[in-house]
């Protein structure tokens, strides 16, 4: 087995040592603040998500981290380096997959890998990298004929080819079909398993919930929340939803008196309650006390979707 991209053996470990630091970052275009006093740190080894609606300033933020844009004010450090002043040094520790960038249409996958490997002082061997990313059968295909998923996998390979400590993945799965999206998620998890820190920009809740250790929710250039996916969900009013059809009518007063109740809805004899675990327990004992059977009882956790809509509520 060649030393190289044998994913999955090393276990990821966050060191709580920040590798990306962003402090009071501001950037405006034509007088409009696109990034407005943003601060966060990304620890080495984590998958850090930046989640937000279109136009929230996500891409501008990571472009400042990549050194492709000069901030109006504030501090950005990648492994202690300034991405603008020390651009060449930063490109060696940070690999990037850019939103909406392409390669020369007639360049083959193999040529692209060889070319980008030659741009770095200590590149990874592209062969195992291509193999792990499932590009082996496409090595002689030209970029122009690749499918969306193949292009994205190639861009992940190019982001990793310089042996970076951090990769920035911007809207990685936009435009991919659900199958290709899931395959790409596995690749991202593998990348992190090798100890590479991932900064992931997305507007897909499911993607953020599945992949990220922590998520910064950005809206109108500001961070509205920064927490683990579970932490964000549990902040949502009514993070647990209980619904059932009771065998006999329930007293409204009893229902309204349930602990930690966030919402209540009755429709066609079916009751839907938003609350917490505490609410669930209380509902069950209420039903038992009144000897009422709950038909089609469902208890579901709120998703990041609900949390997101809550956090960016001013937008809707």
């Amino acid at each position: 087995m060649p030393a190289g991209w044998s994913f999955g053996e090393a276990q990821y470990m966050t060191t709580n040592r920040p590798i990306v630091e962003v402090g009071n970052l501001r950037k405006s275009y034509g007088g409009r603040a696109v990034v407005d006093d943003l601060s966060f740190t990304v620890d080495e080894g984590e998958i850090f998500g930046i989640l937000g609606p279109n136009g929230a300033g996500k891409t501008t933020t990571v472009e400042c981290v990549e050194g492709l844009r000069v901030p109006d004010s504030g501090l950005v450090r990648v492994a202690g380096l300034d991405p603008v002043a020390d651009h060449a040094a930063v490109t060696q520790v940070l690999g990037a997959q850019l939103q909406e960038s392409e390669l020369q249409a007639k360049l083959t996958v193999r040529e692209a890998l060889e070319l980008y490997a030659a741009l770095y002082p200590n590149p990874a061997d592209w062969r195992p990298l291509a193999e792990r990313l499932g590009l082996t059968d496409q090595l002689t295909s030209r970029f122009g004929v690749l499918s969306g998923g193949q292009k994205q996998r190639l861009f992940i390979a190019l982001a990793l080819i310089g042996n970076p400590r951090v990769v920035v993945l911007d809207e990685l799965t936009t435009g991919l079909d659900p199958r290709a999206r899931r395959d790409t998620w596995e690749v991202v998890e593998d990348v992190r398993a090798r100890g590479v820190t991932v900064l992931l920009v997305t507007h897909f809740m499911e993607e953020a919930q599945r992949l990220c250790d922590r998520i910064a929710v950005i809206d109108k250039g500001k961070i509205t929340a920064l927490d683990t996916p579970q932490g964000l969900i549990s902040r949502t009013a009514g993070s647990t939803v209980i619904s059932f059809t009771p065998s006999a009518p329930l007293d409204d007063v009893d229902l309204a008196g349930l602990p930690a109740l966030a919402s209540i809805e009755q429709k066609d004899g079916r009751i839907t309650l938003g609350g917490t675990d505490e609410t669930v327990t209380a509902v069950l004992s209420l039903l038992a006390r009144h000897r009422i059977t709950a038909h089609q009882l469902r208890v579901t956790d709120a998703t990041l979707d609900d949390a997101f809509l809550d956090l960016t509520g001013a937008n809707s």
Partner: protein, 256 residues
């Protein structure tokens, strides 16, 4: 990270960019025809006209075909500078290829210098083919004032590529670059003397054309071909154009 075996780097980054661009350049047969095939083909067609091969007292004993060799050398420069290069560079910017390279340790200017080098080399090969065809097929003498010819050619190339770079800078998309390139292409061909050699133009027209980059270049090359050192006024016009066009291109060029 450390577990990933680093491989020994075999080529320098800029050499790798040049090699990749050279491969891509060879994959465009249409472009290669226009640069390498079109000017010599035009020379052959013009040389096939019997009257073009007769000495003309009005031209100081030269034949029209003698005048056309330097013109077709210029056509190769015009084709590469205005037709081939601008859509490539604008396309690289439009499709984020320059930006993608900005995220690596190599500056995206490596792509531009590679493209200029490749297009410039192709134009020079085409020029040499025209000189060789002229000599072999139509007995056109090789330039008698070789150093002056080379200097005029170098300045003409600088002006042609600076003009192409300006088109790349001003056009937002590859399509627009092609359109602007074509719009500038025909006046440039006219000034170079493709339809009527500059020496044969009426006086007023000739004075104006000699102030354009390709008009001045055609005159300078023509003089060097017949053995004179090219007039400094023509070389000066070329140099001024090259500097002005380069400055304008540098001022307006955007990497994204």
């Amino acid at each position: 990270m450390s577990a990933i075996a680093p491989t020994v780097r075999s080529t320098s980054p800029r050499a790798a960019v040049l090699r990749a661009e050279a491969r891509l350049f060879r994959r465009e047969p249409g472009t290669l025809f226009w640069i390498l095939g079109f000017p010599p083909l035009l020379l052959v067609i013009l040389g096939s006209i019997p009257s073009f091969r007769k000495a003309d007292a009005g031209l100081g004993g030269l034949r029209i075909i003698d005048l056309y060799v330097p013109i077709l050398v210029l056509v190769a420069l015009i084709v590469t500078g205005l037709q081939t290069m601008p859509p490539i560079i604008t396309g690289y910017r439009e499709r984020g290829i320059l930006r993608r390279m900005s995220a690596t340790p190599v500056k995206p200017s490596a792509l531009l210098t590679a493209q200029m080098g490749l297009n410039g080399s192709a134009a020079i090969v085409s020029a040499l083919v025209c000189l060789a065809f002229g000599r072999i097929a139509f007995d056109v003498q090789l330039p008698k004032q070789a150093a002056g010819y080379a200097l005029a050619l170098l300045l003409a190339a600088a002006a042609a590529f600076a003009l192409g770079a300006l088109v790349s800078a001003l056009a937002r998309t590859a399509k627009i670059a092609t359109a602007i390139g074509s719009a500038v292409f025909f006046p440039s061909m006219f000034c170079a003397g493709v339809w009527l050699p500059v020496q044969s133009m009426p006086h007023v027209l000739r004075t104006i054309v000699e102030l354009t980059p390709f008009g001045a270049a055609a005159r300078a090359l023509g003089q060097a071909a017949t053995g004179d050192w090219p007039s400094w006024s023509h070389l000066g016009v070329l140099a001024v154009w090259a500097v002005l066009l380069s400055a304008a291109a540098a001022k307006w060029f955007r990497w994204e």
